[in-house]
Amino acid sequence: MVAKPITPQRGETPDEGTAALLRELVAHLRQKRTQLREEWARRITVAQLLTAMTEEEIFAEATSVYDNYVEALETGTFEALQAYARNLSERIIPRGVETHEVVGIVLLLRDVLARSLFAKYQEDFEKLNRILDAYEPAANRIANTVAVGFVQERERVIRQQQEAIRELSTPVLQVRDRLLILPIIGVIDPQRARQLTEQLLRAIRTNRAKVVVIDITGVAAMDSNVANHLVQTVEASRLLGATVIVTGLSPEIAQTLVTIGVDLSEMTTVGDLQGGIEEAERLLGVKVVVINEAA
């Protein structure tokens, strides 16, 4: 009898021959659960994976993964496994677990189980062949599901963090009546520049600002795109009746702006933030008086 390669598709049930093999396989894996789980946990430690977790934690997760793995083999469906993988990822990503570790442990489990099958069926080579034909595609599918689930969760977290960073790094601050300060730190990509401008314009309207000081001391480098964004921000602010003072241009950025040939005629610039605020106060007709405390 020639063994047929079985590829369980989503929703499809394997045919009778394969089903029987899988049932036998699953029964064996359940019977050997305790020792195979321990073997797996041991190999994880030896391979120095999941170093961010304690041995107890590894064992607890190993138990869940093992049971979910065997269940996926049994049912031939992977939704439950997908859900479990996402859930697991959500828990371990904050612990600092890396992608290679997750892929590593799933492949180790695959290996531990395969070797167990070899051990059991080594006397009957033909049966071993058929068992492996049933096992292999499902095992591949499982490894894939878990790894992809983990990576997707990581990507989701990264996107979330990026958004949070964007929000945090462009605060618009009111320092005086009608005066806003926008300190920009770090790298400005087109998306951030756009967000910055929108945030600033809304703040001008909300705070009824007449002067805005944009400080770019913390901006390392600027290309022509960003320079143009800055010019646009200045012009858009003017349309809302606010004057913009740009401060903190490094010599490099000043050089860049001149070289690019950006139209700076509409932009007021002052060397540093202090100078910028003093100029803003002048424009607002505000005078600061230092009161000397009597000794």
Binding site: E235, L239, G241
Partner: protein
């Protein structure tokens, strides 16, 4: 679409109530210029708070208006440009260069008053 144009002392205030067609814009420009001449106004405020979009024709018309009124001795201030509109304008390169702008009606009046005081002190 009729835009109410009111006289307020030395100033003329036009308050846009809804989206304007090209014809409306031209009409508005003519009406304001006419009033400025008739009342010998020193300032014009055009309030576009209500507009959530301004195309190149609208921007050009407002620029022309400002130039025309200046020739007749009045300063024009465009007020109430919305953040989204301002952003779109600069992205599309629609410029109101040379035209005064302010946040709202109150700021527009403050601007014109300050200008009037300057003229007095400079003896113009």
């Amino acid at each position: 679409m009729e835009v109410p144009i009111l006289k307020q002392g030395q100033y003329v205030i036009a308050s846009v109530q809804s989206a304007l067609t090209d014809a409306d814009l031209r009409e508005l420009r003519e009406q304001i210029t006419e009033r400025v001449g008739r009342f010998r106004s020193k300032g014009v405020i055009v309030d576009v708070t209500v507009l959530d979009v301004m195309d190149s024709f609208a921007v050009r018309t407002l620029r022309d208006l400002a130039h025309m009124t200046r020739l007749r001795g009045a300063e024009t201030v465009i007020v109430g440009i919305q953040p989204e509109v301002a952003f779109a304008m600069v992205q599309l390169g629609l410029s109101l260069k040379g035209v005064a702008t302010a946040l709202d009606l109150e700021e527009g009046l403050a601007f014109l008053n300050a200008r009037a005081r300057e003229h007095l002190t400079s003896g113009r």
